[in-house]
């Protein structure tokens, strides 16, 4: 949820209504805001140029704007909405540089792999222990036919996806597996915490930076990783899904798989969104499941859109069955794979 400051100035019509109906007019403003998914954190009546000031929480800019528009259309107030950032975060943002670091090619060396193997319980497993009350893996046997290098793809629901996913991947693939991560979020220079340092992300978490909007240049490093025999983990939706749908896949995975002739292993993750949905900071423990699907290898001559469509269809099929099962029984689905 994002915070906004909403300033309001009463029209003469609004003042008339307030005189006629008393406090009901003010209460109706509050109720109208709440009807539009807005939560009021604080509210003040002011003397001066503005008449009211509300500190509100709304899911996003659009919903905040929709709520204020509804106020304006009621013809009783003029509004000005200011997206707000709490001050400690603002201070951190000022300190940060927009410069990013990486990729670090040393992350595939034997010592980096050994460090990652040793740090795995601290970096990943402890979160899985803490927040996954149950972790089911369906289709484990399918890993038997998978040899490095390969590309693993998954639906993207939460920052906890990789914790769920790594637990479903055998160690021989996991210790040589690299995730693409947004450079402007995970590889910023100038942060204080050790766990947010770009070198830590490369060494311990196995991430490499992806420049948003970087075009085909963003595929150079993953291609190099595949050439070195490393495995890749990618979320072809590009970003975390906000609704229950599976977003369209971007073509990056298909381009890599076709050019380097490597298999793609789709893994569908279930239940992770309930633990920590996008836009929230608190995590709620719950059950999760990973469905390992049949590895996909593309024939020579397959086009990029065809390959993307095939990957999407494979995931969409499981996604649809799981949604159907959830809708039918409200209990966790069993393996549809």
């Amino acid at each position: 949820m994002s915070v906004y400051v909403l300033l309001m100035r009463d029209h003469s019509e609004g003042l008339k209504a307030m005189k006629a109906t008393g406090p009901a007019a003010v209460q109706s403003v509050v109720e109208a805001l709440e009807r539009w998914e807005v939560k009021i954190l604080m509210g003040y009546r002011m003397l001066g140029r503005w008449d009211q000031c509300y500190i509100i929480e709304a899911p996003d800019n659009f919903k905040a704007y929709r709520a204020t528009l509804a106020q304006e259309m009621s013809t009783t107030v003029d509004t000005e909405i200011l997206p707000a950032i709490d001050l400690p975060l603002f201070e951190r943002l000022i300190r940060q540089s927009a410069q990013t670091a990486g990729p670090h090619s040393w992350q595939i060396s034997w010592w980096a792999r050994a460090a990652r193997f040793a740090m795995y319980p601290y970096a990943y497993q402890r979160w899985a222990w803490k927040f996954f009350t149950e972790h089911a893996v369906y289709g484990k046997k399918k890993w038997g036919s998978v040899r490095a290098p390969c590309i693993i793809i998954s639906n993207h629901q939460s920052h906890f996806d990789q914790f769920c996913l790594l637990k479903a991947i055998p160690p021989r693939i996991r210790t040589n597996l690299f995730f693409g991560a947004a450079a402007d979020r995970w590889f910023l220079k100038g942060r204080r915490e050790i766990t947010l340092q770009p070198w830590y992300q490369s060494l311990v978490m196995g991430l490499y930076p992806i420049q948003r909007g970087g075009g085909s240049r963003t595929l150079e490093y993953p291609k190099w990783l595949l050439d070195q025999g490393a495995n890749l983990m990618l979320f072809p939706e590009g970003t975390r899904a906000r609704g229950r749908h599976l977003s369209h896949f971007k073509h990056g995975v298909s381009i890599l798989a076709l050019e380097k002739n490597v298999p793609v292993v789709p893994v569908y993750l279930e239940g992770v969104k309930r633990i920590r949905p996008p836009g929230t900071k608190e995590a709620i423990p719950g059950p999760v499941a990973a469905h390992v699907l049949d590895p996909i290898r593309f024939d020579t001559g397959t086009s990029v859109p065809e390959a993307t469509e095939r990957l999407y269809t494979a995931m969409k099929d499981v996604h649809g069955r799981i949604l159907q099962a959830e809708g039918g029984s409200q209990t966790r689905s069993r393996s549809p794979s």
Partner: protein, 100 residues
């Protein structure tokens, strides 16, 4: 303590200072408290203002001194509005017969 909404805008000098020393944000809060007021909520905002502060102060005089002091540094321009909580305003709007 009365409530006040302070809308502030950074001057060019203020932007430079903040970029060089972001910790000034926290220091200003301590200075506000030293003057007898209290910062209840504080946000950096996008739009016509740079910061919105909800401040509690014992009187208009304290708040006037605070506004003058902050403005005199040349780093921000402030506009301060006396305010009351919406609950208190609703209560105030009730006809006196309802309150009894």
């Amino acid at each position: 303590m009365a409530a006040y909404i302070m809308l502030s805008t950074l001057t060019d000098e203020g932007r430079k200072t903040l970029k060089e020393r972001p910790e000034r944000l926290g220091e200003v809060n301590k200075e506000v408290e030293a003057m007898g007021a209290r910062v209840v909520a504080q946000y950096a905002v996008l739009g016509g203002y740079d910061f919105v502060n909800v401040i509690e102060a014992p009187s208009n005089e304290v708040m006037a001194r605070l506004s003058m002091d902050l403005g005199s540094r040349g780093t921000i321009k402030v506009t301060t509005f006396p305010a009351m909580s919406i609950e208190r305003f609703i209560d105030m709007m009730q006809p006196s017969s309802d309150k009894q």
